[in-house]
């Protein structure tokens, strides 16, 4: 079986529910939920099937020609599946969460329509087999995210949306320049077949590389291009969760991985002297994000700056240009997604059910909202990198990988960052469990931890973050899969 239809089906599994959602009148809430959830379940099933096939060495692909030699190509490889699996799992639980969170608020047809488009675009990005395909889905993601950011349609969310576009659209132009500069010399670039870069001079290649990093760095929130991300917190909680865990920031990080591994190749990146400056930039972003997180008193803002910091671990892993660091970075792509979505789910529950939006207001909420608080605590522990949480595994690999490539300074960065992570997460955990609750906190009539649609996804995400850390040795864990990717595709 060629299986070329599978990647198309997986994209359609998100796209079709999106289109149906647009068409459904607002009042058919139940039908809309069923359609979206079935799409998510179907997608997961197809992904599971593909995981087994790809583990056996299959690489199904589907092609559509735009012009002679210029193809839209969906191609499944191990790296693509890592990202698609993450997006599939998180789409399902975020959909459950979103249905419960948004309840019967207005404009839900539109919301779930763009939500599905966002996921379809992310899946397309993962499966992209050529640069032009990547760009098409990358832009689709930009456009479908904007309506989600401004969903509340108030002044604040429109300002956030404007800011998002003000960063994202010039970044797209920069990315397009990079693609066209490269492709005008080499012809269309296909990831799997490699590209002959020798027609371009060293300086041109270096400039193209930095243009790529600048274009992709906006979505990956690489310093100094991260300004839109904290502002985008004006969006509803499920949107923030998806944006931070999988859709937008990961698309940027994933793009950078593709550029380093599949367009330039690790050897060329090192030979051109690009790896170390990128690693330094990523390290700076890690520390900068952590310091800024420390300053925030709003929980969601603190989490946002934490994302700025955490996503750069992925880029650091790719930039270190060594196999073990690469494994750590790739595993972190999944680990960070699980932990961060758990944290955002919990932040949404705290805000929605108990009116808690600032760090101070968390005092003593633990015993009142035990499930949420345990999930939040697990996520925070993971972010700090306490064993056996997933975050520890990826940081450990990053550190060992750095030493292996001789970049010992990275270990200092990792240690400092872990300390900073502890400094901005532990006080929250301390307040949740050990400080007395304020007298005047009123519980909602039906209790704090309702409805189940909010609590269960948060607990599942936090549990998954714990599980992938505990079972990191299994070949189908994110770490095991990342090892497979690196062994199969990127070891020289």
């Amino acid at each position: 079986m060629t299986g070329g239809v599978l990647p198309i089906l997986i994209v359609l599994a998100a796209l079709v529910p999106a289109l149906i959602s647009f068409a459904l009148p607002e009042r058919h809430a139940r039908l809309r939920s069923i359609v979206n959830l079935s799409g998510a379940v179907l997608k997961l099933g197809l992904v599971a099937y593909l995981l087994l096939a790809v583990a056996d060495g299959a690489a199904p692909e589907a092609r559509l020609s735009l012009a002679p030699g210029l193809d839209l190509l969906l191609r499944v490889d191990a790296l693509a599946l890592l990202f698609v699996t993450l997006s599939g799992v998180l789409w399902l639980i975020t959909t459950i969460y979103a249905i419960a969170y948004l309840g019967d608020s207005p404009n839900l047809s539109r919301f779930f329509g763009f939500f599905g488009l966002c996921v379809a675009a992310t899946t397309g990005i993962a499966f992209s087999g050529t640069l032009i395909t990547f760009f098409v889905f990358y832009e689709m993601l930009t456009l479908s995210t904007w309506p989600l950011v401004v969903h509340k349609q108030n002044e604040k969310s429109f300002a956030a949306g404007r800011r998002y576009l003000a960063y994202a659209l010039p970044a797209s132009a920069v990315l397009l320049i990079a693609i066209i500069w490269l492709e005008s010399a080499t012809g269309p670039v296909e990831f799997a077949t490699g590209t002959d870069l020798s027609v371009l001079g060293e300086t041109s290649l270096q400039m193209i590389f930095w243009l790529f990093i600048a274009g992709l760095g906006v979505k990956a929130a690489l310093f100094p291009l991260h300004g839109w991300l904290p502002a985008a917190m004006a969006a509803p909680a499920p949107v923030s969760a998806l944006l931070h865990a999988v859709a937008v920031v990961k698309a940027g990080a994933f793009g950078i991985i593709r550029i380093i591994y599949d367009v330039f190749g690790i050897a060329t990146v090192s030979a051109l002297g690009l790896a170390t400056p990128l690693a330094i930039l990523a390290s700076f972003t890690i520390l900068y994000g952590s310091v800024r997180a420390l300053e925030q008193s709003e929980i969601k803002k603190r989490l946002a700056f934490s994302t700025v910091s955490q996503v750069s671990y992925i880029i650091l892993g790719a930039a270190l240009a060594g196999p073990i660091a690469a494994i750590g970075g790739l595993a972190h792509l999944v680990h960070q997604g699980l932990m961060k979505i758990a944290l955002f789910f919990c932040a949404g529950i705290y805000a929605e059910r108990a009116g808690i939006e600032t760090v101070e207001a968390l005092d003593g909420i633990g015993p009142r909202m035990p499930w949420t608080s345990v999930a939040f605590t697990l996520g925070a522990m993971g972010m700090i990198g306490i064993p056996p949480m997933a975050g520890f595994v990826s940081k450990f690999y990053l550190g060992v990988g750095a030493v292996q490539t001789g970049a010992n300074w990275v270990v200092v960065v990792l240690a400092t960052s872990s300390l900073l992570n502890a400094a901005y997460f532990l006080p929250l955990v301390y307040r949740i469990w050990f400080l007395p609750a304020p007298e005047d906190r009123a519980a909602p009539a039906d209790g704090f931890e309702r409805p189940l649609g909010l609590i269960v996804p948060a607990v599942i995400a936090a549990g998954a973050a714990l599980a992938v850390g505990l079972m990191a040795g299994s070949p189908l864990s994110p770490l095991g899969w990342a090892t497979l990717i690196v062994e199969r595709d990127y070891l020289p």
Binding site: A67, P68, F158, L169, L176, S184
Partner: protein, 495 residues
């Protein structure tokens, strides 16, 4: 060999329907829709035939070959433009039933609209099927006169003034063109493109002739700085007329310009000409975008956007041939320009039809009038947004493919400046389209009410915008068609 009727029908059917509409105004709508339907089917079959056989189609009327008789010819470019014109034309006429349909009694506007619109479409199709500079002239005159009359249709002072201004530009343009054609005739004794191409030589009279024709055609295409007629013509014209005026009319003169330089005189262009046309196009992109940014009325934003978007077409002249060695495809920049012409036509028609529907619902087209209209007209708003995606050149859309092809040519030949202009144009389009989009999507004032409009006024622009987007996905087919019968210069470049 394609059936001769395929070449005759796109011209004859609308002309016949125009006569019928004059004689039997009650049946005008039916006659117009069926005639344009026939033209659409004929051009669709023609496109498929051209694609299948890989050769163009020709018909010598009365059996007299040129230079004695008149020939109708269709290559890939003709077929694509015919198809686009008929698609857009049909969409526009379907919407026009609302404001201009038979209401039980004869009105001045209802009576005049149908023959004028049909003559306009017949003239367009005649131009797309001609291979002869005099036939082009006849087509251009019919086209301009019908378009001017459509602008004046409203009868208000503002509309008449705009129409007169348009008439001045159009007449001067025609005159310059005719003078150039006469000089060519004196030089070569024929006006047939193929015959001129075979015997063309570089000399003073040829260059003067071509220069005069180019100036005249540039004025009719609203190329900066000869664009002044276009925005004002849109303020007074009915929205359906605006759609044709922006989406189709300038494409006809551009089409002739392509025929002049790429097909008749490819060796005579020289770097001076490509530089001048390219520069004017580049300035148009920037200038039109900035003016679009300053407008407060929906229709004017769209009209200035046309000034900017037409600028891209003229970058074809310097960019053609830029990618001839580095890419697996052929004639990228030229094909990109033609794809841009088609996708801009579709998107722009969609936008004007949206604007018309929104004006009808909101009672005005100021951005403050249409604020929050998404709640009332989600489909039209969505269509507007899709059309905006094409105009910004974002993927997936015909506009993006065009931009990609032009940009690779610009970068491959080291023509950074043209590349920078194309990229800047995309960002500027995002800026000037953000304001109307933000306004349409804003939450409406709770006491604001909009009049209901027929569903077809929302569905037609949506369909047109979707076709523009689809052109960027299923693009291999149009790409291949455009290569049929294209001149060598389109691949090798002018000079």
């Amino acid at each position: 060999m394609v059936h001769p009727a395929l070449l005759v029908a796109p011209i004859a059917a609308p002309l016949l329907a125009a006569l019928l509409a004059i004689a039997f105004p009650r049946g005008a709508v039916a006659a117009a829709l069926s005639a344009v339907g026939v033209a659409l089917v004929a051009s669709l079959v023609l496109v498929v035939e051209v694609a299948r056989t890989g050769t163009g189609a020709a018909l010598a009327i009365g059996g007299w070959p040129p230079p004695l008789g008149i020939a109708l010819e269709a290559d890939g470019l003709s077929a694509m433009f015919l198809l686009a014109a008929s698609t857009i034309g049909l969409g526009v006429l379907v919407v026009a039933q609302g404001p201009f349909g038979w209401t039980g009694r004869e009105t001045r506007k209802g009576y005049s609209f149908w023959p004028l619109a049909l003559c306009l479409l017949a003239a367009l199709n005649a131009i797309f099927l001609s291979r002869d500079f005099f036939n082009f002239y006849v087509g251009l005159e019919l086209l301009s006169l019908s378009a001017v009359a459509l602008v004046a249709l409203d009868g208000k002072r503002e509309a008449i003034e705009a129409a007169l201004r348009y008439l001045m530009f159009a007449l001067v343009g025609s005159l310059l063109y005719l003078l150039g054609a006469a000089l060519l005739y004196a030089q070569y004794g024929t006006l047939d493109i193929g015959l001129i191409a075979a015997s063309a030589e570089t000399n003073g009279p040829t260059l003067v002739a071509a220069g005069l024709m180019t100036a005249g055609l540039a004025a009719k295409t609203a190329l900066f700085p000869l664009h002044a007629w276009l925005p004002s013509a849109h303020t007074g014209a009915p929205a359906v007329a605006s759609a044709m005026l922006s989406a189709l009319v300038p494409k006809a003169s551009f089409f002739i310009l392509v025929r002049v330089w790429f097909d008749a005189l490819p060796g005579q262009a020289g770097p001076g000409l490509t530089l001048v046309l390219g520069t004017m196009g580049a300035v148009a992109i920037v200038y039109g975008s900035i003016l679009a940014l300053l407008q407060e009325r929906l229709k004017l934003i769209i009209a200035y956007s046309t000034v900017a978007q037409l600028g891209y077409l003229f970058l074809v002249f310097p960019l053609a041939g830029g990618d001839s060695t580095a890419q697996p495809w052929f004639a990228g920049a030229w094909t990109g320009g033609m794809v841009h012409a088609v996708s801009h036509g579709l998107a722009k028609a969609a936008m004007f039809l949206c604007a018309g529907a929104m004006m009808a619902a909101a009672g005005g087209d100021k951005l403050s009038d249409v604020r929050g209209i998404v709640a009332k007209m989600p489909l039209a708003t969505f269509a507007f947004a899709l059309a905006a995606v094409t105009l910004m050149g974002l993927p997936p859309s015909g506009g993006f493919l065009a931009k990609y092809l032009m940009l690779t040519a610009a970068f491959a030949s080291g023509a950074w400046v043209w590349g920078a202009v194309v990229l800047a144009g995309g960002l500027l389009a995002a800026l000037y389209l953000y304001r109307p989009l933000a306004s349409l999507f804003a939450p409406a004032d709770p006491d604001r009410t909009f009049t209901s409009v027929p569903l077809r006024t929302e569905l037609v622009p949506l369909a047109l915008a979707l076709v523009a987007v689809l052109l960027g996905v299923a693009s291999q087919f149009p790409y291949d068609i455009l290569q049929v019968g294209r001149s060598v210069a389109a691949e090798a470049g002018l000079e």
